[in-house]
Amino acid sequence: MKKIRAELHTHTVLSPCASIEMIPPLIIAEAEAKNIDILAITDHNSIANISAVIEAAAGSNVTVIPGIELQTQEEIHSICLFDTLSQVSSFYTFIEPTLPDLKNNADFFGEQFVVDRTGDFVRREERMLISSANISINDAFLEVRRLGGLLIPAHVNRSAYGLLPVLGFVPQDIDLEILEVSKHVDPIEIFAKFPQLMGYQLIQNGDAHFLHEILGFNQFTVEEFSIQEMIKAMRGQDGRTYNNLYQIIKENNNFNE
């Protein structure tokens, strides 16, 4: 067993809200400097920059996990994490026809750049990525699981696109076990504010739109990192464990925006 530090929610310059510094080599350098072993790339409704970050990570100590931050029809954001690029591609093929064909207004929402492993410009993504796929969170959850991945509702406590404000409580008709809380809350104190979170496993991520928001709160004790190992760790099964480093990281540096 080994201890693995993971940041599971990271945007690149493809996401309109991300800073221009979120290019593959800088993302990897930041993760490596913070001793983060596993970094998931989760752009809004798109997967076009994952390969570039994987290439940028070659030769580093960072392993990139392919993911996507999906906005479902309820206006809820969920990070969908996979073991392989082919799984995330299959999932993207599933959601792509349900995405609205709206053009991005870069002046208002921000630019959406597809880049190469060095961060050089490849093309602009013209479609507006901040929009809702016309599928329910329930259907998305089931499809992600069918493909071998894991859907985790993102920043469930946040008013904008968070599951709890939008849906009031965690849906009971799908087997959601793991939820993400935003980086600004103490993961212990949050149960007092949202008692409906009791009984769920909580992870916490930087939801990085800037380099300094790559935080790596999550520490998994597992054989090798994989989606299944991560789920076991969250459940505390077979000697796998999960630790949230929030308190330690908070004491050591000021990560608030």
Binding site: Q73, E74, N138, L164, P165, V166, L167, G168, F169
Partner: protein
Amino acid sequence: MNLDLIINKLNLKVLTDNKDFSQIQPSHGYVSDMLSCVMTGAGQHSVWVTLQAHGNIVAVARLLDLSAIIITEDAQPDEKTIAKANEEGVILLSTEENSFNIAGKLWELGLKDK
């Protein structure tokens, strides 16, 4: 004011089982797509107008004893949600119109805020 009149005047589709809607008398109206707001904002026996079609709407309606939910812009609850609503005695209605128009028409019919 009864639900039968509302269904006819607004030309609403009834998604759940038919019943004698003329016996149901809503007292207020409420509009929101954020279920956390609905839970604190909608009064008992309200008609709730929303384009949210997720299964959680049934639990919210049950919790608050709402008279009916009008789902707007043709958003479609899935079969499980409709079955659950029937089980819980929650009335789901549907329309192609948007929430603004429906709220306006309800107001004109005399349904007001709590």
